[in-house]
Amino acid sequence: MSTTYNLKRADFIFRNENDWEKILNRTLQRDKQELINELISSELKGRGGAGFPTGLKWKLTSEAPADQKYVICNADEGEPGTFKDREILSMVPFKVLSAMAICGYIVGASKGYIYLRGEYRFLKTDLEKAIAEFDYYCKEIKFDFHIEIFMGSGAYICGEETALFESMEGKRGEPRNKPPFPSFVGYMGKPTVINNVETLAHTYTIFKHGAKKFYDLGVQFSRGTKLFSVSGDTPKPGIYELELGMSLQDFVDEFGDGDTKAVQVGGASGFLVPRKRFGETAIGFKGKLTGISLPTGGSMMLFNSSRSMFKVLDNYLEFFREESCGQCTPCRVGCQQLLIGIKAVKQGIKPASYLDNLLKLTETMQLTAKCGLGQSVANSFSSIVENFREEMIY
């Protein structure tokens, strides 16, 4: 097991994409099974936040029998504090398009969609130009694959994969029951590979440099690099590519302003880590790392001691209350009640012990909500209330 916890910068994602035609052509000549095996051996996990092994996802879809399959690039980047996907699509769009085409070749899909969030409408024109150029090249090498952009219209929940399918099918973006999983029943009921923008960009790196190069980065169970969107109270906000597995303390030493009180790892649906836990927290997927290991879609928000954690939680809960699709009761009512509840405690209408009732409510939501939104409200809620209880009351 690797014990490297230090911050290690990397530069793969934004490094030149001028050779995309060569890489695409070369990869399309290779055996499909061999490509899947390469992806599996790289141990790449989804970079949207959930961390499902990408190789396995492609393998399942490639084995699903169907006359039509789809490849979808999830660019509905809505998690507070995340802004890396926009940068990828505007800086290195051809990496993403090539990766989609390679995925299409492997799983047997001839159609790809980029689901672009409404807030990123200004990217559309340039992206369309890139797609036109890409289409032209595909025709030239006689490879049958077409990509289209589907615009979202301002709904956080549409980043959930099945809600995204519903939205593309012209319906309200309400998540479906799983199973069946998208690998078998996805967009229009057909087997669909749906990947985050960054995940696709990483597969390009893997097919270009080989799985070993990717696997050698990061730590056990959390291989490779990851883009981090750094914001909040930091002297250098922005997007950084770092190896997974670093300790949060090292991260704060690098990006903090010297007065960092807490870091929100993984956006509003992630966890808040207080200063006393920086040393024992590692950034990566769950594994056998010592201490706590937190996954993230890349959102890292720093708060210094001038910030009220009550206001932070209040802001998150308002976000969830508005973005809950309202389909299932635990999430729809739960988000509202949590927001009303913390305000009541703050104003002294309810006793401090009422916070424990609210914590129980988040547990219920975690168990009973239909999708990740309702289930993950508990993450930020409990980590803030448990670590900064006095700030919730006084």
């Binding site: 980047e77 809505g78 998690e79 507070p80 504090g81 995340t82 802004f83 926009r86 969030r117 409404g118 807030e119 990123y120 409408r121 200004f122 589907f150 615009m151 979202g152 219209s153 301002g154 709904a155 956080y156 939205s167 593309m168 099918e169 012209g170 319906k171 309200r172 973006g173 229009m188 969107s229 750094v230 914001s231 909040g232 109270d233 906000p237 922005g238 997007i239 929100q264 509003a268 928000m301 708060f303 910030r307 206001k311 932070v312 802001n315 998150y316 976000f319 508005e322 973005e323 699709c325």
Partner: protein, 157 residues
């Protein structure tokens, strides 16, 4: 109202008349008319041959598909955590002061509407706002004044 009918026919011809074409059509109408009127939603339902309630249900789900009359320029200010920490309230006050409207309101000349929205994805350059499809980041009250003055000079379409 005939214009709306023509627009919807045009959009339906372009995108198709199946259910999965609904969102692009709704977006097309909002782009031209700034919002979805009852009439336009009924017309869309007719064009796609689906119940009007389905169109309404879908449209009202999405925060960028307005179903109340909106001004020509819709200002959306990000209110999520980082923007909120970095001075979103001052920006909002400046705009309210300049346009004399509150959040959710439209100026009497139908030129501007003011809305708050959830994370726009510019936390590293907070505070941020969107005016129609144009993005403005690292705002300060002074900069917002400049930006809005420039928009005020733009001729009505």
């Amino acid at each position: 109202m005939n214009q709306t009918h023509e627009l919807i026919t045009e959009l339906a011809d372009k995108h198709g008349r199946r259910r999965e074409n609904l969102l692009p059509i709704l977006q097309g109408v909002v782009e031209k008319e700034n919002y979805l009127s009852d009439y336009s939603m009924i017309e869309i339902a007719r064009a796609l041959d689906i119940p009007a309630a389905e169109v309404y249900g879908t449209a009202t789900f999405y925060s960028f598909l307005e179903y109340k009359p909106m001004g020509e320029f819709v200002i959306r200010i990000c209110k999520t955590i980082t923007c909120s920490m970095k001075g979103k309230n001052q920006i909002l006050l400046t705009i309210k002061d300049m346009l004399k409207i509150g959040v959710g309101e439209t100026t009497p000349d139908k030129k501007f509407s003011l809305l708050e929205t959830n994370c726009l994805g510019w936390c590293h350059k907070a505070p941020a706002m969107l005016i129609n499809n144009e993005m403005f980041t690292e705002l300060s009250p002074e900069r917002v004044r400049e930006i809005l003055s420039e928009f005020m000079k733009r001729p009505a379409q």
